[in-house]
Assembly symmetry: C2
Homo-oligomer: 540 residues x 2
Amino acid sequence: MPTTVIIGGVAGGMSTATRLRRKDEQRRIIVIESSGYVSFANCGLPYHISGTIAERSSLLLQTPESLAARFNIDVRVNQRAIAIDRQRQEVTVRDDQGDTYLLNYDTLVLSPGAEPFLPDLPGIERSLTLRSVEDLDRIIDGIKDAQSVALIGGGFIGIEVAENLQKLGKKVTILEKTQQILSPLDPEMSAIVRRHIADNGVTVLTNASITAIGEKNIELSDGRTVLADAVITAIGVRPATELAETAGLDLGPLGGIAVDDQQRTSDPKIFAVGDVTEKPDAINGQPSLAPLAQSANRQGRLIADVIAGEDVARRPVLGTAIVGAFGLATGVVGWNEKRARSQGRDIRIIHLHPVQHAGYYPGASPIHLKLVVDANNDAILGAQAVGRDGVDKRIDVISTAMSAGISASRLADLELAYAPQFGSAKDPINMAGFIAENLVKGERNAQWYEVSDYLEQGWTLVDVRTPAEYEHGAIPGSMNLPLDDIRERYQELAGHKVLVHCQVGLRGHIAATLLQNLGFTDVVNLDGGYLTWSQGTCYQ
Amino acid sequence: MPTTVIIGGVAGGMSTATRLRRKDEQRRIIVIESSGYVSFANCGLPYHISGTIAERSSLLLQTPESLAARFNIDVRVNQRAIAIDRQRQEVTVRDDQGDTYLLNYDTLVLSPGAEPFLPDLPGIERSLTLRSVEDLDRIIDGIKDAQSVALIGGGFIGIEVAENLQKLGKKVTILEKTQQILSPLDPEMSAIVRRHIADNGVTVLTNASITAIGEKNIELSDGRTVLADAVITAIGVRPATELAETAGLDLGPLGGIAVDDQQRTSDPKIFAVGDVTEKPDAINGQPSLAPLAQSANRQGRLIADVIAGEDVARRPVLGTAIVGAFGLATGVVGWNEKRARSQGRDIRIIHLHPVQHAGYYPGASPIHLKLVVDANNDAILGAQAVGRDGVDKRIDVISTAMSAGISASRLADLELAYAPQFGSAKDPINMAGFIAENLVKGERNAQWYEVSDYLEQGWTLVDVRTPAEYEHGAIPGSMNLPLDDIRERYQELAGHKVLVHCQVGLRGHIAATLLQNLGFTDVVNLDGGYLTWSQGTCYQ
């Protein structure tokens, strides 16, 4: 009977195991898991800290017993694969008593996941991390009596943990080394989330360079000290490649295991799946890491099909992700502007701030949406969205559109479900498409960080909002000429190059086209209006 | 100065007007609207009945004055176009004083919308309809003192109105002439909504053949009488083609105005937009009506571009739609099974009942999802979804996939945003793709209405749920053999053709593949499991 040994019993590994059993009843399937748990809901771990997910047991989706009963899979927890002999097709396993034994395999699947990065800092041994159920138990124990908790790292998991600690009444400080939290976002989008988190009582320190972790605090290089009865680090993960490296398997340029389109490593008898592998990026085909559960599950399923002899191939990854915190959702897909610019892409940027459903229906709230578009072919390179409601839907629609190669302009034509509680006759997605279409047709926009350049070059900044809006807060150097007055007063701008803006971009667009129709040749609309400008500049 | 006259000032007409102004400042744009209001939110009207949308004014998105100030559009409300002289390019208009005058046009745009059908019944003059703001006012007045209200028609608008009347404490009865409410759904999906509406206190009568509307009640042909202090009819709409017909414009086979890919009627100087027109169906290209706001807006924008000289063409329509009632959302896109079968298509049907986000996160609730797939090429022909949360998202993703030509199996690969509050690592959409993939690879499923056929043909119906589930309710004629016992007990089925089922279809799939791997050749899984079967049969 052929034997498949799977190292790692979460997401990718367990997807392989169960799918493989459905494909093949006549095979030994053995799963080696170093922790005490398989198939646990790692994405749910932060929510048990606060009791939002009340029962720890609800995070444990399967047990070795249930997997044996249903799938005849031999699951061995608290055991660790410590060596692979590729010649003999043999894995050395250390069992829960510390004894070692050998396991032969016909195919081997590596699904060890990724391990948290830990910065090299004095006192770092005091810091907790969150990756396994055991980690979770340590955190719950470690914060029990803590009044203050410092979170090193302002990424997705850091923010989820911060929310859950805050719910427990802890004094939470997020320490982020770079200029902004949530690096998958561009800074003006990140600022929305930062403001929201701060408004909910979490202290967020950026450019926070830690010099030492003390017994009750953390010291920063600028002399500040942050109270920290407990410390949790979540600055990212790296592929857990130790076993693969020792076995001489090829790694890719980013330090993950290199695999082919069937998830085969450089040894054709050995597959790798999930966070430990490098995946082709959907935009440019280059290796990427993207440690996400969805693609781990998908790859696991694929490996089972390959082992069962089917002709299947992986798809590249877009890296769709979302995080919720304090009632605000933040979603991303594909590339952000930073990345597109660093790759030298010729791009168009679109910001908009529509409400998630009909504005006249109770509960309307804004979605801040950003699209990064290839200026050469109108392809969508990426999107970011932040809002209280409907963010996941828009990111999923854009992800689907990207996956299908729908251009940014064609978003205008998507037929999205509309009733007042659910959307708008012109959905935010359609609105983004309208703007993309206008840009394709030659309309020009400017970005929030370009306003000062325009002013220096002698352009006139015209705020077309109402006088009341203008008085409430305006961009320095702007003049107020309300949209509805332009037909009467446009001669005031005669001979000027005009950068127009409104609150969110729509009236600015109307004003820009009107001025062009009235004979102005140099007219640019400020993308996303005053709102994007203020989001972009508020933490500068 | 060229003149464009637009007849009808909602959705399509007003989209044309405002877009055209942005394209062309040097043009007279005149809008003739027969009601007292333009740009009102017709999809919001039902929600003002109950006060859910508290302010009537919030339904009025624009006024003639605001449109004049911002877009220099000449909007004339309470005026009616009564004749078109195509030779002279002239419209006869009756103004609000009853006087008539002539308007010359260079281009004419017809956007009169659709009018409610009224059945030919004694007493029908007592029935109210809901299409305009004036209708809304009449309904609010008409139900003020009513204790009971009968709603003729169990379609989307009927159900929205029913919910809002129920909120006011009225005794509401929905009278539906056919076997099921919500005709865009197939019966087993419609049954979920019907049950939910009934559970919320609305009486739903199907196969209700009305003989007369009395002063305080409605009489049915089967002798029943329904209390009805007020009567509202919402049995659908028909294109308001009277003016177009009088002018000799061509109609299409469904009675709407026939237009070309630029929305031109048979007279090249006259365009038509929105509910009054026929549109090409996205699945087979045949004319369809699909009276939806989104496509009206989109066509309006397109007409403006065409008048401005751009080379653009409409896209076919999928007919995405959604309705919410009593906390339950129901969405559709494309064709249902009834339609696909009536067209003689070779199809595969997929039912599933996943929860909308991680099951371990609080608030998980099922989405009942159905996919209609072309058996020849795996193309998605349509989808239906019913659930408390996340229905709009899944319908939008499927609509986008259909629009892009993504096959049903490829739904498995979509990268959808996952965090426990928003989705699952295997989203319902991915799950639908997995099932589609299995069917492509030869797995067989049966539909709820085929169970009796299988039993008659001697198949053994095996319920693989637990004994506790089985005792709680089972399909007549089934035997219980729990999934986890199959490896021990499968000999009991030796020689049988086996139709397996579980609660929702997943364990049934595992059981079916296991039995095949154990040597059974005739194994079929009941699609959607016991749940779809019970939904399909509960009102039969």
